[in-house]
Assembly symmetry: C2
Homo-oligomer: 694 residues x 2
């Protein structure tokens, strides 16, 4: 491994500037940890006040060290930081950690200090973590630089670990570490990122993606400052079959205010983050206990799994409750195939259930041969992805050997839930079976894990942007009117309404006659984004007289309501028949770049927030997935005996809009088709109106 | 207390028929528990095989007992049950518990056995619990009749308790008991109801409402067989300031199938259950751990609380996460009042937060005087209902005394969350502060508890049905057409469209001219419920010619599509202008009786399942609450600068429909107004169509 962050995250030697001899001081705690847990590298405490700390020689200043350490940890005040970094750099130190608060999070003076620090790092090429940082730990080498008391209270692992924490909060890092260690999982890296003045989240994530130890990353995110870097790091994680489990803070207004106050982070759009996480198969988590359990489940990701679960209980009630909770969480409980039911029925009495959930009844646990037969049938049928067994403690104990045996024979994922006091838990875990002692926690961890497995099976790498079709049209830099926007989109293959531009009433009447009534009349101006609001749209015009009336009324209204708009004329279109209206938009997200959004037209979509989002590129197949995710998708799919809409044509148009956005220069803020009218199957879709905002 | 179930739930003497000398057998385990835990009443084992069991004299048969016990427990096979009950009854036994399975849950033969048992109970007046029952326990008197190993594994309480379990599953009862005892809460009654052949859920609930010990009931419900009894018992609970926390199984299709298979229960409509729970201020729970924590929180219900929460942390990140989770769970985090912020700012540095969430920063914990000042400000402001503090273990320890002091001075609800290893937890609990060691569990318990407190403050008893307005109209028993339905509703004050009935085209034309065009034409027939589907509605008819065409087309269509319908004529109404359309329906729920449902008209309401429900009676104020619960309520409230709708008039009409349903005989299955057109404010609402199904 030869990553830029190597001296920071895997240092061979560490110096502490502002070292203390007391283990309860921030300048002393990490030195205490290093010496107690057997760090193998060199440690150089620096403090003119001491000759020796924790049995180590203490130096008067950085210049006195016998050699340049990989990493310097600065336990000194904010104002002294950059001068000291300069001295470290002169000595040959490659990386530094800055504990001090009092930078960007603390008003204008702090912001100036931070800018100064950033300038220095940029010029010198030094890797500076923080400021406002609790410090780091590489648990594989016991390289401790964090003043986190959790390393004294949580049991220390032996040997290397595969779970890493990467958090934008020291407290969250410590809380996660405690929970992960409570489950007995060994840790690779303990990373919190502080103010991210010089090294930000994605670069750490990139390191962990390359780290040979790390397999699972528990992330806490307030704001991503490098969306492209994040996407790339997640793609590397995916390639290496590693997994990021992330809690994103600021999903509510109050939460967003809190993260801004915390690390001056901008929480961003939760829908966008969610869609990016989904596309990159990141598991989004809600709380710490769930994250730790997901890290534990990730150890079993080599087992085949997915959303189709069989629930096995000794109690009809528990079967019902688990069915309710799993289905509400997005999993499926398919009916068991007839042949599997037949195997089960051989030993399950009439009052038991052989569908799904299965109630094997209490008697069955006394017949290990039959229990194994049942589990083998469930482990081998193609109709299932996973098996979850709920049994009171002593019953689980009686079945434990059978479960372990079958789990050793089949690669299928097995989980056991026991809210009692089973003694077999460790044995089951060693046999590769997930074990839970709480029903709610089991559901909250199993559901996202199994859905992750489902997506992982289906996963296709994010395509490199396809070669863009040559557009015959250059984008005008001074803004575009509707006709120009439609023309631009049309050049990428978006089907657009035939429209004719008129600059006089007479011309409009000629066009209308050519198109045949009824027609639509729209004002044409790059200066008017919302035509309806200024009386710039007239629908369903039936004849020449009505056209004249509408034309006059429109001109009067525009003169009054948009007196300064430059008017290019009017647009005449044939009035469309019935269909389903979509809104399709693409815009530059400040974090992740170009994103696409689809939703059904109309106010209710807004009220029910029924939209779906995706990073670009968006293929026709992706577009189809996006439409299917809408709660209102049934309206496209032949709702209440209505004809099915031409979804394939809609997907083509959506993919074409995505192409048009990808090809557009950065100055294009947003492209929107509203509405995209989707006619009935076989009759296509058509953009009735479009908007390009620069 | 002099409840009918007293001999069953508080027996002074118990006999065991089919007694065993072994503590691991169902006929022995409860006798072992009774003797070990010091039950004070008489115990009479009955089994001709033994002279003595557990040091007690064992009798050859029930007839040999020296006196009639209050309660007989039957540990014998299903077929022998009713004959034995007859002998018990002859002896003078007042109540019995039947363990045996093999009744209604097991096919036709079992159903016949159960009917026989029910007949006997009805005739004899004997109180029979079960069959298919794990047995009961009164932990106040240590009257054990359950074969539940959990009484051997969970620590036994000393003295009486105030938490009772009431479940339609023995396994769930045991699982809940274990969790409640793990939290150290003492239990009053352990009740599972089995097949409920003779005593059903509500009667037990009614007993617990009267029980002087019980304050909190943890319920598990698959099906309520007596909705009216349940409502009444919940009202008694409310009156006595007791609390029911209920998990309802079967909220998904698969869950519903499972409960049906389990106890042949019909899961019913989850929306209806949910609305009834809300009206009766029952807390609906999702899993067992949550229920146990809610039982613990209920011990603090004397503290003032509600939905407005202040979150106090030492970490911006934790503040953000808690804000997100609490708000997503339905709580509010109001901004703190300026004067409170000023108190906080005196000791909180600039980089801390004094809004809400509050980040007091780590330094503050070392100044107990200031911590108390902060907490007093939060405990006394009218802008809040509750205070939640999240602190890592050692920081919570440093603040513990201050929190306890302030909690003793103010009645406000305080909770503390520590995912570390605070040592102060027990002290805080003794001071009346809720303490959690997991963030997810804390939110899942606190949110429903605080929302329950909010509703409890606002709670008005369910009004007795008001004296109904004298309706001039008797309901026709042979079905009603639209005009008759509207007339019936009108007599209760539902504003209805003026409509004129015609039996010929000429008559229709005369009516149309009188009303003035445009008009609506509708077929009039009690036999046609869905007029649109048979071509029985024509809207927006502009003139006499068009009316003639529509009339003819309608008659042709009806002749073809509903050839057997008896036609009363056609209805002519004036065409209505714009407005918001509601669907308002009332129907007899098989469990709870008459229920009202409101939603916005149109397909999207169905797709988004955006409806709200209420038990009758429904006042205008209730109707207003129901409308406000709709996600689409903004459409009534001046959405996007549209005029506000006449919500007051809509509420009047909804309340009037509820009256009409309440006054209708049982034979009326459903009354629906679709649509109720709500015009803009001040212009009223009007029922455009109505349906009464017998």
């Amino acid at each position: 491994m030869n990553h830029r962050l190597e001296p920071l995250l895997n240092p061979q030697s560490i110096s502490f500037i502002g070292a203390s001899a007391r283990a309860d001081r921030i300048g002393g705690m990490p030195i205490d940890l290093l010496t107690r847990y057997g760090y193998d590298g060199d440690i150089y405490p620096v403090n003119p006040k001491y000759q020796e700390v924790f049995g180590l020689k203490c130096y008067a200043d950085i210049e006195s060290l016998p050699k340049a350490p990989d990493l310097a940890v600065l336990a000194i005040g904010a104002k002294d930081v950059t001068p000291m970094l300069e001295r470290c750099h002169a000595k040959g130190v490659r990386a530094a950690i800055v504990y001090a608060a009092g930078f960007a999070e603390e008003g204008p003076a702090g912001r100036a200090l931070q800018e100064h620090l950033e300038d220095f790092a940029k010029k010198s090429g030094m890797i500076v973590a923080g400021p406002n940082l609790m410090g780091l730990a590489n648990l594989n080498t016991q390289a401790h630089t964090a003043f986190a008391s959790v390393f004294n209270t949580a049991p220390m692992q032996e040997g290397p670990g595969n779970v890493s924490m990467l958090t934008q909060s020291g407290n969250v890092c410590a809380a996660l570490y405690a929970l992960v260690r409570k489950l007995g999982l060994p840790v690779s890296h303990f990373i919190n990122t502080g103010n991210e003045a010089c090294v930000e989240f994605s670069e750490y994530l990139n390191f962990l993606a390359d780290d040979p130890q790390t397999e699972v990353v528990l992330g806490y995110i307030e704001q991503l400052r490098n969306g492209a870097g994040f996407i790339q790091a997640c793609q590397t994680l995916q390639k290496k079959d590693k997994l990021l489990i992330a809690l994103k803070a600021g999903t509510t207004d109050k939460g967003a205010v809190a993260v801004q106050s915390h690390t001056s982070a901008l929480a961003g759009d939760k829908h966008v983050y969610r869609s990016v996480f989904e596309k990159l198969n990141v598991i989004e988590a809600q709380d710490f206990a769930q994250m730790a359990l997901l890290a534990q489940l990730a150890q079993l990701r080599h087992r085949t799994a997915g959303r189709r679960v069989a629930v096995i209980t000794m109690s009809g009630a528990l079967g019902a409750i688990l069915a309710d909770r799993f289905i509400e969480a997005g999993l499926d409980l398919p009916d068991l195939p007839i042949d599997v039911q037949a195997v089960l029925r051989k030993g399950i009495p009439d009052y038991g259930m052989v569908g799904n959930p299965v109630d094997v009844t209490g008697n069955v646990v006394n017949d290990p041969g039959f229990v194994q037969e049942v589990l083998r049938a469930l482990a081998s049928t193609d109709a299932l992805d996973a098996v979850v067994i709920y049994a009171p403690g002593y019953m689980l104990d009686r079945m434990a050997d059978s479960i372990a045996t079958v789990a050793s024979e089949y690669p299928r994922f097995f989980a056991a839930i026991d809210t009692g006091r089973a003694t077999c838990r460790d044995n089951l875990r060693q046999a590769g079976i997930a074990v839970f002692d709480d029903l709610g926690l089991a559901v909250s961890a199993l559901a996202p894990f199994l859905l992750w497995q489902e997506r992982r099976k289906a996963q296709t790498p994010i395509a490199a942007p396809a070669t863009l079709p040559a557009s015959g049209l250059a984008l005008r830099k001074d803004g575009m009117n509707e006709a120009q926007a439609l023309q631009y989109l049309s050049s990428f293959g978006v089907p657009c309404k035939e429209d004719l531009i008129a600059t006089t009433l007479q011309e409009a009447q000629t066009h209308a006659a050519a198109l045949a009534y009824p027609v639509v009349l729209k004002i044409l101006s790059a200066d008017i984004a919302h035509k309806t609001e200024v009386g710039g749209v007239a629908l369903n015009i039936k004849d020449e007289t009505q056209l004249a009336e509408c034309y006059q009324a429109m001109m009067d209204s525009i003169r009054e309501k948009a007196p300064n708009a430059h008017i290019d004329g009017v647009l005449v279109q044939k009035m469309e028949g019935k269909g389903v209206e979509l809104i399709v938009g693409a815009r530059h997200d400040p974090v992740f770049g170009p994103m696409l959004t689809v939703g059904l037209g109309g106010v209710l979509t807004e009220i029910y927030q029924d939209t779906s989002h995706s990073l670009l590129p968006v293929s026709e197949q992706d577009a189809n997935e996006l439409l299917k995710k809408l709660k209102a998708f049934p309206l496209l799919d032949g709702y209440r005996n209505a004809p099915k809409a031409d979804v394939a044509a809609a997907c083509k148009a959506i993919a074409a809009l995505a192409q048009a956005m990808a090809a557009a220069p950065e100055s294009v803020r947003e492209i929107e088709i509203n509405p995209l009218l989707v006619r009935q199957q076989g009759q296509g879709a058509v953009a009735l109106d479009a908007l390009i905002l620069m």
